[in-house]
Amino acid sequence: MLARVGFVARLPGFRRCERSLLSSLRCNATNSVPQTSEKPESKSVRNPRVSEGGRRKKGADLDSTSSREDIRAVRLKKVEELRAGGFEPYGYTWDRTHFAVELQKKYVDLPSATEANEEKDHVAVAGRIIARRVFGKLAFLTMRDDSGDIQLYCEKAKMMDEPFDLLKTSLDIGDFVGVKGTMKRTDKGELSVMVGEISILTKSLIPLPDKWHGLTDVEKRYRQRYVDMIMNPDVATVFRNRAKITSEIRRHMESLGYLEIETPVLQGEAGGADARPFVTHHNALAQDMYLRIATELHLKRMVVGGFERVFEIGRIFRNEGISTRHNPEFTSIELYQAYADYHDMMNLAEELVERCALAVNGSTSITYQETEISLQRPWKRATMHSLVQEVTGIDFASFGDDIEAAKDAAMGFFEGHLERHDTGTIMKSPSIGHLVNEIFEMVVEKTLIQPTFVMDHPVEISPLAKPHRSKPGLVERFELFVYGREMANAFSELTDPIEQRARFEAQVQTHNATMAAAAEYAKAKGDTALASAANDAYEVGMDEDFITALEYGMPPTAGMGIGIDRLVMLLTDSASIRDVIAFPVLKHQ
C-alpha cells in the first residue's frame, strides 16, 4: 500500500551536488598526499577476503598481529595527516544515485570485460569498505551499503593521481567512502564501479574483526551489535523483517477500523498480569511507580470510553530472568474489540499470523529450527482439559472440588518420575484449576508444535476472562501455541465489575499464600537461595480505578495479546529472542 520510492536521494529537492567533498579533495590535493611509504601503515595492504573466509596471504596482515591500540594510533595519525592535507576525514554528506543492489540489477546483462561509460552510466555510490586489494596501479575494493556489496575498480590511469595515492596510503578496511564513476564488468565477471573520484567520508579507527561467524564470545555479538551487523548482513535482515511484521500488523488492524493508542508505561499499580514488576521512583511526585507488565487494563478503559476497536503495540517490562525466550523488556500487541468474543479472536489470530508469514516468507509453510510448520488456516482448536486428558488419560473435570483426589491421580500418572521441584508444584497447587494448568505446562505444551488454540482455561488462573457461557468452572479463553511456545493469549473479557473484584481478591489471596508458602518452605529447609528468592516477593495489587471503570459499563468485548518478539522469532527462524531484539539486556560484563 505504501508507495515505494526508489530511494531518498532521488526525491525532489534532495540533490545537492555542490557540497560534495570530492571537490575539496581534488582542489586541495596538490601538496597534500602524505608520503607514507616508510611509515608502518604502508604495510596495511591486507588480504581483502579476511572478512569472508579468513584465508590470508602470508605476512600481509598487520592488523591481526598488531594490538588494537597500535592500529588505532596509526589510524589516528592518518586522520591528522588527512586534515593537515586539507581533507576532512569525517565528511558531511554524499549524494548517492544508486544502491549496490540496484546497480547489480540494472547491469545484470552487462557482459564480462565490458565497460558502460556513457552519460547515463555515471553513478555515485557510498558505503563501507569491507575488503581491499591494492597493487601498483590498480586497486580492488569491496564496498558494502544498506542493500549489499559491490566492487570498486580503481585504476590509477583513470583517476587523478592524488586520489589513487590517497587510497593507497590512507584508506583502510572499515572506512566509509563516497565514489563516483562508471560501470564495468571485469574479466572475471565481477560487476564493478570504475572509480573516477573517491573520497573518504568516515575514517574508522578500529579494525573490523577477522572472523565474526562462530565467534566464541557469542555475547559480544549482542554487546556490539553494530559489529555483528557489519560482518553479517543477515542480522539486519531479521530487523528489516521485524519492521515488516509490525507494519503488516498495523496495516491490517487499521484496515479493520482499529485505532492505535498509547497507554502509560509508568503506573501506580502494575496490573493486567501476574508478574514481578520493575519499580522506580518519581522524584517530583515523591511516588514509587511501576513499569507496566501489560497494557490490558488501560486499553479496556478505552473500550469503556467508547473506542470500540483499539490496539497498542508497545513495550512491556517484567522483572524476571533472561533466557533465549525472555528479555526483561519485550514488545506485544494487545487489541480489544467490542461486541466480539474469543471465537472472533481465534479467527483474527489466524489472519494476522498468516499475513505476517506471507509478508516475510511469501508462504504459510515455514521451517523453524529445522521443523516444518504449517500456518495454513484453520488451526487446531482443543480445550485444555481434553489435551491434558489425551496425554494423561485423566479427566480432571471428574474430580469436582476434590483437590486431593486430583493430586493423587496426577502423582499416579507421573509414578514418581518427577523432579523435586515439579512434585512441589503439584502438591502446592491451590485448586484443581491450577493443577490442570501445571500438568498442561509439564506434559502438553511441548507437544504443541503445529499451531494450536488451547481453549477454555480454568477460572482460577484467568482472573480477567469471562466465565464460559456453558461450562462451569472454565472461562472463554485461549492461548495459541506454536513450536511448544505460547504466542498469543485471548479472552472474552470479563465485564462484570462485581465478579472482577472477587477475582482480583482471589488472585491476591492465592498469590500471597503462594509467596508465604515459598518463604515457609525455604525457612524449613534452611535453603538460603530459596529464602532470598522468597524475599524478592512482590505484591499483586488491586486496580480499583479499573473496577470503577467497569462499573460505568463495558460492552461485551474480546481481547487478545500477541508477543511480537516470539512471532518474529518464529517467522525469521531465530533460535533466541536476542536475535530479534537489536540490543538485548545482558549480564554485567
Binding site: D146, T202, Q287, Y339, D545, V585, H588
Partner: protein, 632 residues
C-alpha cells in the same frame, strides 16, 4: 499573524472581535444555559407527575436520586438477575452494522420513511432516555462518536405491554444495549432505528453527568461557533461544524464534564461525555500515522531500541532508575534513543527511525509529563540542510492533510483570549541563533566575533551580567550553556510563533552535533519552534570519535559545576563511532507537543490518555457534583 498573539483576531468584514464582544457572548451563553436548565427541571417535574405512565416515572425519577442509592439499586437489580441464573453480562452481541455505517447507509432516507424488512442489529451506549407514555420510548444511542435515535414502540415488539414497560424501565442512561430493528426517520427527520428487540449488554452502575451541551445550541453559542469557524475556514463560513475538527479552536467551556481531575483520571468519562475528546485522540493517532507513512515511503526502517539502559544517554535530563532483581543490576529508563539508533547506522542500516516513549524524571507542568512520545530518525549521507527540507515537507503536509489547511487556530494567550493563527505554509522562517540574539536584543547583546571564544570565563561573566540586566532568570549553575539557553529563550524563541528554525547552535550547547563546516565554534544544528515551543531538534551528527570524547569531557565539566542535566559519557557509544559512523543527519520530534498544537490543547494532559497525576488516596468518587452543578 506572527508575533501578534495579543492582537485581536480579525473577523469577517475586517471587524475585530473585541474582548467585550466575547464577554457578551459568554454572558449570553450562560444565560441561555440557565434558562435551559430551568426548562429541564420543569420537564423533570412534569415527568414525575402522577398522570405519567409508570415506565416514564422510572426514567425520570432516577435523575433526582441520590447517587449512592442509585448505585445500590442497580446492584440489587443485578443481584436479582444472577439469583435467577440469568447472565446480566452476555458474551456476545452480533452487530450487523456499525453506527457510523448506519448513518451513511440510511442517512438519506425521507423524513417519516420506515424501511421495514431491512432489519439491522446495532449496539452502543444509551446517552439519553425519554418516555412518551408507557408504550413509546426514545433513546439516543452513541457509538464511535456518532449517535442515532432509538424508537421503541410496544406494537413493534414481541413483548407484552407489561414486559415491554418492565424491559424499558430496566434500561438506564449509560447502559450498553444491543438492538435489533429496522431503520427509519422520525417525522422530524431524525435518523432512527425502530426496535423489534432490545437487550441490555452491560450496566452503568453510576449516574452519568448530564450532557446538555449536546442538545440544541442556543443563539449565543451558535454565533460564537460561527465566529470562531469563520476565522478558520472563511470559505465555509455558512457551515458551522457541529463537532470539533483538528486545526480548529476548542471550547472547553462547552464541555458537559468540565472538572479537570475527573477528565484526566477517568478518561473514559471524558470520552463518553465530551464529544471532542475522541477526535483529539484520533488526531494524535493520525499524527503518528502520518509520520510513520512519511518515513516508510522514504524507505526508513522502523526499529525498537531498549527503554532500559545501563547509562541514560543521548540527551540531558534526569533519568528514572530501576533495578533488575535477577541480574542484580541497576538500570535507567531511556531519556532518548539517539545513541542506539546511531549504532544501527554504524551497523549498516542507512535509514532507521523509532517512534516511542522517553522518560524524564522531572516535574509535571503544562508541557511536561514524565513519559512522552518522540520520533527520531537517522539518515546516512544526509545533513541538516536536507533535514530542514524534510521537516518542512513533513509538517506542512501533515497539517494540510489532517486539518485541511496550512493554517490552524490555537489559544496561545489563554482561553479567555481569541485564538491565534499558526501558519504552516512552507518554507519556514530561519533564524540564526547568535545573529538572532544580537538582532532581537536590538544590538544590546554582543558576542565575540570569534565564536570559539564562547567558552571563555569572560564571556561567561558577560552573559551573567546580561541576564541580570534584562532580568532573565538563570538559576545556578550559571554555565555558559545555560545562560545562552535562557537568553535565547527570552529574545529569540519569543519570535517563533509560526514554525521557525533556530539554527547554528554553539558547539558547547550541542555535544552530539557536528561542528559547522565553515563557521568555527558553531554546529550544523537546528531546532524547530512553534508557538514558542521547541518541537524538533536535529543536526548533522558528530561522527569524529575523538571530538565526541572531547565534547563528552566538556559535559562532565559542566556536571561537576552542578549541572546535573549535562550528559554522561557513554564509552560504548564512542567505541561504536571508532568503527565508523558515515556522514549522517539525525532528527527528533516531540509527538505530544505537535499534537497539542493541532488539537488546541494548552496542557499536555489533554493529549495523553492517562497523564501522570499526583497520587490520590481516596477511591474515585463518581462525578455527581458535575451533574448537580448542571442541574441546579
Amino acid at each position: 499573524m506572527e508575533g501578534g498573539g495579543a492582537a485581536p483576531v480579525a473577523m469577517e468584514g475586517g471587524e475585530p472581535m473585541s474582548k467585550s464582544a466575547l464577554k457578551k457572548l459568554e454572558k449570553a451563553k450562560k444565560a441561555a444555559e440557565e434558562k435551559r436548565a430551568k426548562e429541564e427541571k420543569k420537564k423533570a417535574e412534569a415527568a414525575a407527575a402522577p398522570k405519567k405512565a409508570k415506565a416514564a416515572q422510572h426514567a425520570e425519577d432516577d435523575e433526582d436520586m441520590d447517587p449512592t442509592q442509585y448505585r445500590s439499586n442497580r446492584l440489587r437489580a443485578l443481584g436479582e438477575l444472577k439469583e435467577k441464573s440469568r447472565n446480566p453480562y452476555p458474551h456476545k452481541f452480533q452487530t450487523s452494522i456499525s453506527i457510523p455505517e448506519y448513518v451513511v447507509k440510511f442517512g438519506e432516507i425521507q423524513d417519516g420513511e420506515h424501511l421495514e424488512g431491512q432489519d439491522q442489529s446495532v449496539a452502543g451506549r444509551v446517552m439519553s432516555k425519554r418516555a412518551s407514555g408507557g408504550k413509546l420510548m426514545f433513546y439516543d444511542l452513541h457509538a464511535d462518536g456518532v449517535k442515532i435515535q432509538v424508537i421503541a414502540q410496544s406494537n413493534y415488539s414481541d413483548l407484552s405491554e407489561e414486559e415491554f414497560s418492565r424491559m424499558h424501565a430496566s434500561i438506564k442512561r449509560g447502559d450498553i444495549v444491543g438492538i435489533n430493528g429496522f431503520p427509519g426517520k422520525s417525522k422530524k427527520g431524525e435518523l432512527s432505528i425502530f426496535v423489534k428487540s432490545i437487550e441490555l449488554l452491560s450496566y452503568c452502575l453510576h449516574m452519568l453527568p448530564k450532557t446538555h451541551a449536546r442538545g440544541g445550541k442556543d443563539q449565543a453559542e451558535k454565533s460564537l461557533d460561527k465566529k470562531l469557524s469563520e476565522v478558520t475556514i472563511a470559505s465555509e463560513d455558512s457551515k458551522v461544524p457541529e463537532h470539533w475538527h483538528p486545526g480548529l479552536a476548542r471550547n472547553l467551556e462547552r464541555y458537559p464534564l468540565k472538572d479537570q481531575e475527573t477528565r484526566y483520571r477517568q478518561r473514559y468519562l471524558d470520552l463518553m461525555l465530551n464529544s471532542d475528546i475522541r477526535n483529539v485522540f484520533k488526531t494524535r493517532s493520525q499524527v503518528i500515522r502520518y509520520v510513520r507513512r512519511f518515513l516508510d515511503e522514504r524507505e526508513f526502517i522502523e526499529v525498537e531500541t531498549p527503554m532500559m539502559n545501563m547509562i541514560a544517554g543521548g540527551a540531558a535530563a534526569k533519568p528514572f532508575k530501576t533495578h533488575h532483581n535477577d541480574l542484580n543490576m541497576d538500570l535507567f529508563m531511556r531519556i532518548a534513543p539517539e545513541l542506539y539508533l546511531k549504532e544501527l547506522i554504524v551497523g549498516g542500516m542507512d535509514r532507521v527511525y523509532e517512534i516511542g516513549k522517553q522518560f524524564r524524571n522531572e516535574g509535571i507542568d503544562l508541557t511536561h509529563n514524565p513519559e512522552f512520545t518522540t520520533c527520531e530518525f537517522y539518515w546516512a549521507y544526509a545533513d541538516y540542510q536536507d533535514l530542514m527540507k524534510v521537516t518542512e515537507e513533513m509538517l506542512s503536509g501533515m497539517v494540510k492533510e489532517i486539518t485541511g489547511s496550512y493554517k490552524i487556530l490555537y489559544h496561545s494567550n489563554g482561553l479567555d483570549q481569541p485564538p491565534i493563527e499558526i501558519d504552516f505554509t512552507p518554507p519556514f522562517k530561519r533564524i540564526d541563533m547568535i545573529k538572532g540574539l544580537e538582532e532581537y536584543s536590538e544590538g544590546k547583546i554582543k558576542l565575540p566575533a570569534d565564536l570559539e571564544l564562547l567558552d571563555s570565563p569572560e564571556v561567561n561573566k558577560y552573559l551573567v551580567e546580561t541576564c541580570e540586566k534584562f532580568d532573565v532568570k538563570c538559576p545556578p549553575p550559571q554555565t555558559t550553556t545555560r545562560l545562552l539557553d535562557k537568553l535565547v529563550g527570552h529574545f529569540v524563541e519569543e519570535q517563533c510563533v509560526n514554525p521557525t528554525f533556530i539554527t547554528h547552535h554553539p558547539q558547547l550547547m550541542s555535544p552530539l552535533a557536528k561542528w559547522h563546516r565553515s563557521i568555527p565554534g558553531l554546529t550544523e544544528r537546528f531546532e524547530l519552534f512553534m508557538n514558542k515551543h521547541e518541537v524538533c531538534n536535529a543536526y548533522t551528527e558528530l561522527n569524529d570519535p575523538v571530538v565526541q570524547r572531547e565534547r563528552f569531557a566538556d559535559q562532565v565539566k559542566d556536571r561537576e559545576k552542578g549541572d546535573d542535566e549535562a550528559m554522561a559519557i557513554d564509552e560504548g557509544f564512542c567505541t561504536a563511532l571508532e568503527y565508523g559512523l558515515p556522514p549522517t543527519a539525525g532528527w527528533g520530534m516531540g509527538i505530544d507537543r505537535l499534537t497539542m498544537l493541532l488539537t488546541d490543547s494548552q496542557n499536555i494532559k489533554e493529549v495523553l490518555l492517562f497523564p501522570a497525576m499526583k497520587p490520590h488516596e481516596d477511591v474515585i468518587e463518581p462525578p455527581v457534583r458535575a451533574a448537580d452543578d448542571l442541574a441546579s
